[in-house]
Symmetry: C2
């Protein structure tokens, strides 16, 4: 299991901050995987990382958020990615390309995501929080797409649908051994979308 350390050009302070955050996420995830959501308190997590529980709340607004972690794609990043797609490309394809990059990132952290999804399965009450991360993403994406196409209703629809396809694909991916590449599955899903979801 590899930890993601994107410490480039950062002072010691910020590096420690990143490390603390990552350590908290790691501790939260592993502890909950072992004992279940209710069996782990914020104090447990904080103690495992050797910080005060107050500090935990400086990093995450809730226990659940530590588990879901940094799944939300950052706004700036999304914007940049979408900007990289020529404006002639249809919205659905543009979304597919953006989500492909996301899929690649998920694959790079395969183990962590598998653990996360396993924890999600075992603690369905977490689902809302996972989705909540997706909600802001959806709002943002919808806005960007709406700029591309004129139609606002269409932007809402195509974005919602694309993200739903992404989510469904991730579930499918995780339920297998993660052997078929996520990117491949994603392309399949989008091909079906473009095909009008005709019966297989």
């Amino acid at each position: 299991m590899t930890t993601v350390d994107s410490n480039e050009e950062l002072g010691r302070r910020d590096r420690k901050k990143l490390e603390t955050r990552a350590a908290l996420e790691r501790a939260a995830l592993t502890l909950v995987a072992e004992r279940g959501l209710a069996g782990v308190t914020v104090e447990d997590i904080a103690e495992a990382v050797d910080v005060s529980s107050r500090t935990f709340f400086n990093y995450f607004p809730s226990k659940e958020d530590a588990l879901i972690g940094r799944n939300r794609m950052v706004g700036a990043e999304l914007k940049e990615r979408l900007a990289g797609v020529p404006s002639g490309v249809p919205a659905l394809d543009a979304l597919r390309l953006v989500l492909r990059e996301q899929a690649v990132q998920v694959q790079d952290q395969r183990e962590w995501w598998m653990l996360r999804l396993k924890v999600l399965e075992q603690n369905p009450s977490l689902l809302p929080h996972l989705i909540s991360g997706g909600v802001e993403t959806e709002l943002l994406l919808t806005g960007l797409i709406a700029e591309r196409v004129g139609d606002d209703g269409y932007a809402h629809l195509v974005t919602a649908v694309s993200l739903a396809a992404f989510r469904a694909t991730m579930m499918r991916w995780s339920s297998g051994d993660g052997v078929p590449k996520l990117v491949v599955l994603l392309d399949e899903a989008f091909a079906r979308l473009a095909d009008g979801l005709s019966t297989p």
Copy 2:
């Protein structure tokens, strides 16, 4: 604003139970609409209905659940509806028909849904809870669809996508004055889905 009282052949006890639940939902919704989610405690809600706050938790597992309320379509009902659709009908159309009926129900309680959606807009942290209610629905529907078509992956995809379309449509509907009929908007959305979401 009409209250929904489907008290047919029910003893006084169960009638009172239904009424209490409805009253709690009503109080929660109106209070939060006035003061915002953080400005309303469970005790406030319970007091408005004149029950103990413990009783509140006998009805709802959390404050949020009272606000989202009984939006989840009951499993049996869904099953029945879907059974009413001939097995020859493609999955996407079957889902459209089932969701149309749901849309009709929503329209029948237009005022309440508008208030609910307004509260949702003003308190985005509720959105996950709304969606999460849909999650069990999605699981159930997916199972039923999987039985119809053989392909499991396709069932996941088409269900997730259809529900996403439904959700997006409800948002669009509520952001307007609710003037265009929800059912009409829904048909539009599904037409676009069947069309492969080509650019408008």
